[in-house]
């Protein structure tokens, strides 16, 4: 099998974001990671290949320093990678999907393309769908279970309040991985060292004949969400506290 995993290089979810200019953020100081849901995709791809043979190819669209995230994915067992290099911090989903498509097509078709269910930086939840549209492949997102059988994939996806859909799809296909799909492995040091020697093919975004000015969505401003400054404390006996709270929620805040 040949499996692609689209991996995004994003700020650590615990990192505090500091703004730089109107639309950017400081990215030289904070810790970056593979977007957490992408890791479920990497794990699934690597274990499928371990079982069935083949190779796992990481595809990333990002800045130069995304290499560290790619090496992390390789330490988990991916075989090689393609980095589509761009200078921009924000590339809209449509352009990202087109860049991914170009990279995948240059490399030659695969059986499955994994993505995360969404990236934790821009949270746009659509790149995998656009990629599926461009490649004319089926796509199911938020997949928490996968079984392959006879050229078909059967997946489960949660649709809220604990309900799940069981979906059958044909291969090749795109699967957006969610928590529950597996437990991603932790990279071992010898694998980290091996990963340093694996091939990363770099493609300049500018060589792809995609015009960044054609973005469907443009960032105009990035601003920090103001922190609440601290609670108004409700004192008194337990009974008083409950009574005051209900009154506040009903009469002042009108949320009940």
């Amino acid at each position: 099998m040949k499996i692609f995993v689209c991996v995004k290089h994003v700020p650590d979810t615990a990192a505090s974001i500091k703004l730089a200019g109107d639309t950017g953020f400081e990215d030289s100081e904070i810790k970056f990671i593979a977007s957490p849901y992408d890791e479920y995709g990497i794990e699934e791809a690597v274990s499928l290949v371990e079982k069935n043979g083949g190779e796992v190819v990481i595809v990333t669209v990002g800045k130069d320093d995304a290499v560290s995230t790619i090496r992390g994915a390789m330490a988990m067992g991916a075989h090689r990678a393609i980095l589509v290099k761009t200078d921009s911090q924000f590339l809209d989903s449509s352009l990202t999907a087109k860049a991914l498509k170009a990279a995948i097509e240059q490399d030659g078709a695969g059986d499955i393309i994994f993505t995360g269910k969404g990236s934790v930086d821009t949270e746009s939840f659509q790149t995998q769908y656009r990629l599926a549209g461009l490649l004319e492949m089926p796509v199911v997102n938020e997949v928490s279970s996968l079984s392959l059988d006879d050229g078909k994939a059967v997946v489960e996806r949660e649709i809220g309040s604990g309900e799940k859909e069981v979906i059958e799809m044909t291969l090749p296909c795109i699967i957006g991985a969610d928590r529950g799909l597996n437990e991603p492995r932790y990279p071992k040091f010898p694998d980290i060292m091996k990963a340093k020697k694996k091939e990363i093919r770099e493609i300049e975004f500018s060589s792809l004949d995609l015009d960044e000015s054609n973005a469907m969505v443009e960032m105009e401003k990035l601003e920090l969400v103001p922190e609440r400054s601290g609670a108004k404390m409700i004192d008194g006996s337990v009974d008083d506290q409950a009574e005051q709270l209900v009154k506040i929620l009903k009469q002042d805040e009108k949320v009940l």
């Binding site: 089926p138 997102n141 309040s161 799940k164 859909e165 960032m219 601290g230 409950a242 949320v255």
Partner: protein, 312 residues
């Protein structure tokens, strides 16, 4: 005024409250409520009350319910047919899925999970970096799509005509995917991401059975019950109940955190809630620095007291 579609989500024959908020978001435009399936008549009055000038009842040949792709094709056909310039929906699990499919089919802009939308100016505000920042986005193109974070816009009545238009989409399922089964969850529970009120139990809940106490309180408020990662990791609650970084992102009108310390990762999943109340025994818990109202106390005393006050 441009032709604006609003994709309506219906549950058991009723329009979801979150869809009413989306109608309100489209106020001022020529609103086309898009109803997939045969429920249009049932929900006509409600949609009209909240501003739907037209109600397009969309049907298509084939097993529409089993094919998200077919649904996307049918809606796309309607968008084209009625020359809709903007189409809004709810950023629910199905909403996000369907809108992404439509965006891919039509190759048009989509902004997911907005908290504000300006249809005329084609600008949207949404969360980036797990609620740490808001991004103001400019949307390009003739037609665009947008899903709106549940509860971020309060529904407001704005009576309109509500004419039902039957639209039979002439589309074909690409046959890629098929929903072969829907597994119901054991209990009938409100969907966390759409619930207007959420009451969450953290590590201090101590045991799985103690969530009953929260459920009792939740029922009186029409609330869903959530859990913190600490509580999920301790095995007190299933992952589907988890709010936070690796769980669900929610934005209810009222969020009551019971015995939750208030880690950054928890806040990432609920900080855009309108009103946050924290109940915690530890007066130094970080959550008190980041919520609107705080009660220092044992949740096993405060929550039952709250329940009984709500009953009154």
């Amino acid at each position: 005024m441009s032709n604006t579609g609003v994709l309506i989500e219906i549950d058991k024959g009723e329009v979801k409250d979150t869809s009413l908020g989306v109608l309100t978001a489209a106020a001022g435009e020529q609103i086309y409520a898009l109803v997939l399936g045969d429920d249009a008549a049932k929900v006509k009055d409600k949609l009209a009350l909240y501003g739907a000038e037209h109600i397009i009842s969309i049907t298509a040949p084939g097993d529409v319910a089993a094919s998200p792709d077919l649904q996307a094709q049918a809606i796309t056909a309607a968008i084209k047919e009625y020359d809709l310039k903007a189409v809004l929906g709810t950023a629910s699990s199905t909403g996000k899925d369907l809108f992404a499919r439509i965006a891919a089919v039509m190759d048009v802009s989509l902004v997911s999970d907005c908290v504000e939308i300006d249809i005329t100016e084609k600008r949207a505000k949404k969360s980036h970096f797990s609620g740490k920042t808001f991004a103001d986005l400019k949307i390009n193109g003739d037609v665009f799509l947008c899903t709106i974070r549940p509860n971020s816009i309060e529904p407001a009545e704005a009576p309109a005509a509500g004419n039902i238009i039957e639209f039979k989409a002439d589309v074909k399922d690409p046959g890629f995917i098929k929903i072969i089964e829907t597994k119901k969850s054991s209990a009938e529970k409100l969907d966390l991401t759409e619930a207007p009120v959420i009451i969450t139990g953290g590590r201090a809940i101590k045991a799985a059975e103690n969530y009953k106490m929260l459920e009792e309180c939740a029922d009186l408020m029409g609330a869903a019950v959530g859990a913190s990662r600490a509580a999920v990791d301790a095995g007190f609650a299933p992952h589907s109940m988890q709010v936070g970084q690796t769980g669900k992102t929610v934005s209810p009108k009222l969020y009551i955190a019971c015995g939750v310390s208030g880690a950054v990762q928890h806040f990432a999943g609920m900080k855009t809630s309108k009103v946050i109340v924290a109940i915690n025994e530890d007066k130094d818990a970080p959550i008190f620095g980041k919520c609107d109202y705080g009660i220092i106390g044992d949740i096993f005393e405060v929550v039952p007291a709250l329940t009984s006050k709500l009953k009154e």
